[in-house]
Structures are given as structure tokens and as C-alpha cells.
Amino acid sequence: MTNLPSDLPEGAGARLAELEHGLFTSDLSVNEFLLVKQLGFHPLGLVMGSSIYHIGLQKRSWGSSQELTTLTSAMYNARELAMNRMEEEADQLGADGVVGVRLDVNFYEWGHGSAEFIAIGTAVKAEDGRSYRNRLGKPFTSDLSGQDFWALAQTGYMPQALVMGTCVYHIAHRGLGQAISQLGQNQELANFTQAMYDARELAMKRMQDEASNLSAAGVVGMRLEEKSHQWGEHTIEFLSIGTAVAPRQDFDGTPPPRPTAVISFDN
């Protein structure tokens, strides 16, 4: 383990070296483990990447809606760092991909103005020796659960990468005069609506761009999260995240099994 990627902090090597000898660790549940095995993959190890990142400051003007580009790029960079380190660990294990990826942001009390970005998932490798890496030659990443991964494979698709787009947006306050004139009326607050629309569009477009760079067929399991983190209520991060998928080369066209209707007795 002398040729660790330079981006990984020291100390990451020893644990991974042990995993290369057949021992595996994973946070897959028993069900997920069986489903991943069913697809012909074997778990290799729990892989993670993290970055503690100081988020810069940016002046917000009280009355105008605008993207806060410094904050957006901080959220982007820090997540990229965490994801890349996780991918590097997976690469080190010779994995084909990482399933069940969780991407979290933690704020610690001691780290004023900074946050920890962390990505954790289970690296898997195909048992038949075939490569399932994505078009960039990297292990695929996906936040799909073991169950969803299995179901996706039945439809003839494989995950390519976890794609995301983010936009930190400041939403203008209403002027005093405006607030008074609208008092007691039913009225759409057009500037709020507009700002929310713009921010969401930006986040989703960035995610789609990432997917088209991978020439993916689509994005599944997509979610749109809105969080204010520690910026106060008028500054919101819009994060759109999902798994980009592409048709699998080895798919024989067998349709997925037809579901049976059941009435479960475990209520």
C-alpha cells in the first residue's frame, strides 16, 4: 500500500490493506447483503471520505434575491472532496462500485463557520470478474439501497454515479411599504415564488449537466432538499441529488418477474 492516492490523508492505508485479504465490512442490512449477492456482487468494505471545510462569507443584500456563489462553490467543493476520497478508497480496494452512499453535513460546535462533509457507502465487486465501472473508468456510486439496486438491475440499467447540483440562494426580504400594502390581502408573493423557482432550476440543471457528462440515460431516486444550515431563514441551499443510470451491457432482455399481490399479516 505504498501508492495511496495523494488526496487521502495518512492512516487511511492500513485499514484498506487488511480488507484486501478477503475480510469485508459493510453497513448493508442482511436483506441488502442477500440482494447484492443475488446480483453477483460481493461487498468489499465500508468506504468513506470526509472533508472539514471552512465556508467563506458573502455579503447579502437585504432586498435582492440572488445566488450566493461563494457559498454555492463551498458546498460543491467540500462534497466533491468527500466523494472523491470515498471513490479513491473504493478504487484502492479494486471495487466496481459503491452502493448505499450517504452524504451528510455535520456542524460541530468547535468548528465555527465550518462543517464536516462526509460520504459513506459499501464498496462492491462483481464475482464474475467483469468490470462494472462507469464510463470514466471509476467505480460507480449510488445512493440506492440494496433493494433498489436489485430492482434497477432487473430493468436492465446499472448505476453510473451519484450526481448532484447545488445552489445557495438568498431570498429577498419584503420592503416595509410592500408588506404594509399587502396586509390583509390574498396575494401571491411573486418575488418569493420567483426566487424559489430560480434556485431550484439552477440546482436541477447542474445535476442534469453532471448526468449528461456521463452520457447517462437518466437519473433515478432523485430528491430535492432545502436546508438553511446555519445561515438564517432567508438563505437556503437547494440540493438536488440522484443516481445517474445507463443501460447495462450484459442485459439479456429478460423482463423483471411479475409481482404477486399479497395481503400481509404483519400489521
Partner: protein, 296 residues
């Protein structure tokens, strides 16, 4: 998969015991309760039925506790890993495990399923409490167990009884609960750096490095634990990542899960079919609504 290493801690005959358990499970058939003994358990009826499907039954709710003192002053001074806290955790964990296993052995169990793990780190004491349901081979009419295992070969797992049975049907067997913990002090930032970086987007590399180190240490302990019990893998890893309440500049990281080993010759793939539940949500009966005279 590579061959399993010889267990370092336990006696050499664990392998032979496990082989026997493997055979017993492979041949396991539905074994009804012979009504030979009273049992207590916190399992659901479904889970008890599932255990019977592999010839096991619950015996009793068992628990194990480990308490270790933490030296004075370890939280306030120094940098990097709080070694003493890590050792205290390891020792409390070992005591809790051996007392749980001891109780299980006493009641003739082959192992404990559904173990709940509580870790409580205080300034001067670390407590680990484990609670689970001990299970044994179904007794016959003469109250004889169909098979028993020795103390060192009995298993502990935090998998539910349901997960245990599903896993056993796939040819795998849980061996032990393994855990790793690490307590790390966040580094201090130089005043100059803090001021200079206050408006910038920048990675705090020394912080990143410290937390990486903490995780690596905990994970390395975990992996050592798996190897020591002769496991080939770990399932359902739980990661607790939280600041220590009484020392907020210290980050606690606990990783635990169940070490597993394949006892069958090869992995048995279950038959999977897709189902769509067609039942509507059941409205639960609420006794409180009677007391207050209906919905208000």
C-alpha cells in the same frame, strides 16, 4: 473468499464446534415446542415461529453490563486520540460481552439474537449495556437440548431473529458483536489562521486529518475484532458519530456490527419474487380516545 484465519483469542476447537452448528443448521427442520420448559422473550410471535423453522427457540431475555473507570483529566488536556477513553471502552465492551455470553451459556443457549447495545461515556466511567434474547436448540420431550455449544462458540449478534434466520438460510452464521471506538480532540486553530480564513472557502486539512484518523482507528479495532473471532465479514455496521456532551471539543466515534462467517460450502441464493401489498393501512385502536370521549 479467502480461508478464515485461526481465531486468536478463543480456543482452537471453535472451528469444530462451528462445523457442527453448520451441520445442525443445514439439516434444521421445523421443530415444534415440546412444552418442556418456560421461556421468556421480547421477540414477536413471527420471530419465534421463524426461529422454530431452523430448530431453535428463545430461552430468556439476557443482559450483560460492563463498567470501566476513566482516568481523571483525560478529557481536558492533550491533542489527538484520548487513548484512555478508547481503552476504557474496549474493556467495558469485553466485560459486557462476557457477562452476556456467560448468562447465555448458563441457560443452555447457542447464542443471543437482537442484542441492543448502549454506550454511555461519562467523564469518569464508561458503561456498555447489552440486552438480547438468548436462543437454544428446541428441547425434546425429555427436556434435552438437541445440541449445545461451548461458551466460546456461542454467538452474539445485533441482528434480529428474523435477520438471523434469513442469514442462516443463506448459509451464513453470526459469530460475535464486534466494535471499535475512538475519541479524538479537535485540533486548535491558530488565531492568525482563523482571522485570515474567516471569509474564505478553504478545507481545514488538519481537522480533516484528525477525524480521518479517528475513524481509521475505530475501523481498525473493528476489523481486528472480526479477525480475532475468525469472521470473514461484518454486516449491518452502525456508525455513531457525535460530540461528547461534557467535552464538546472531543468527537466520539463508535462503530459496531455483527461479524459473520459462511458455514455452508457456498452462498445459498434465496428465491426472490416481487410482491405488491394490497392491504390498506390499518387504523389502530386507540384506548385513549375512549377515555377522553372520542376525537376532540
Amino acid at each position: 473468499m479467502s480461508s478464515s484465519p485461526v481465531p486468536l483469542g478463543g480456543p482452537q476447537n471453535v472451528e469444530a464446534d462451528l462445523a457442527e452448528v453448520g451441520r445442525a443448521l443445514a439439516e434444521a427442520q421445523w421443530a415444534p415446542d415440546a412444552g418442556a420448559a418456560v421461556t421468556t422473550s421480547d421477540l414477536s410471535l413471527d420471530e419465534i415461529l421463524l426461529l422454530h423453522s431452523v430448530g431453535l427457540e428463545p430461552v430468556e431475555v439476557a443482559f450483560g453490563v460492563g463498567c470501566t473507570s476513566v482516568a481523571f483529566g483525560v478529557w481536558q488536556w492533550g491533542m489527538g486520540t484520548v487513548v484512555d477513553a478508547r481503552q476504557a471502552f474496549a474493556s467495558a465492551l469485553a466485560t459486557a460481552k462476557s457477562s452476556l455470553r456467560g448468562r447465555a451459556h448458563q441457560v443452555g443457549a447457542v447464542g443471543v439474537v437482537g442484542v441492543d447495545v448502549q454506550v454511555d461515556m461519562r467523564p469518569h466511567v464508561c458503561t456498555v449495556v447489552m440486552t438480547g434474547t438468548a436462543v437454544r436448540a428446541v428441547l425434546d420431550e425429555r427436556s434435552h437440548s438437541r445440541f449445545r455449544v461451548k461458551y466460546h462458540s456461542s454467538f452474539l449478534c445485533d441482528l434480529s431473529a428474523r435477520d438471523f434466520v434469513v442469514l442462516a438460510n443463506a448459509g451464513w452464521y453470526p459469530l460475535d458483536l464486534v466494535a471499535g471506538a475512538s475519541y479524538v480532540q479537535a485540533p486548535r486553530r491558530a488565531m492568525g489562521d482563523a482571522v485570515r480564513q474567516s471569509t474564505q472557502n478553504v478545507e481545514l486539512s488538519n481537522f480533516t486529518q484528525t477525524l480521518y484518523q479517528a475513524r481509521e482507528e475505530a475501523m481498525a479495532d473493528l476489523q481486528r475484532g472480526i479477525e480475532q473471532v475468525g469472521g470473514t465479514g461484518l454486516l449491518d455496521a452502525k456508525i455513531l458519530d457525535r460530540p461528547v456532551p461534557f467535552a464538546r471539543h472531543v468527537v466520539e466515534l463508535v462503530v459496531y456490527g455483527t461479524a459473520v462467517k459462511m458455514l455452508a460450502a457456498e452462498h445459498q441464493h434465496p428465491d426472490i419474487s416481487l410482491v405488491v401489498p394490497v392491504d390498506d393501512r390499518v387504523r389502530a385502536f386507540e384506548a385513549t380516545s375512549l377515555r377522553t370521549g372520542g376525537a376532540e
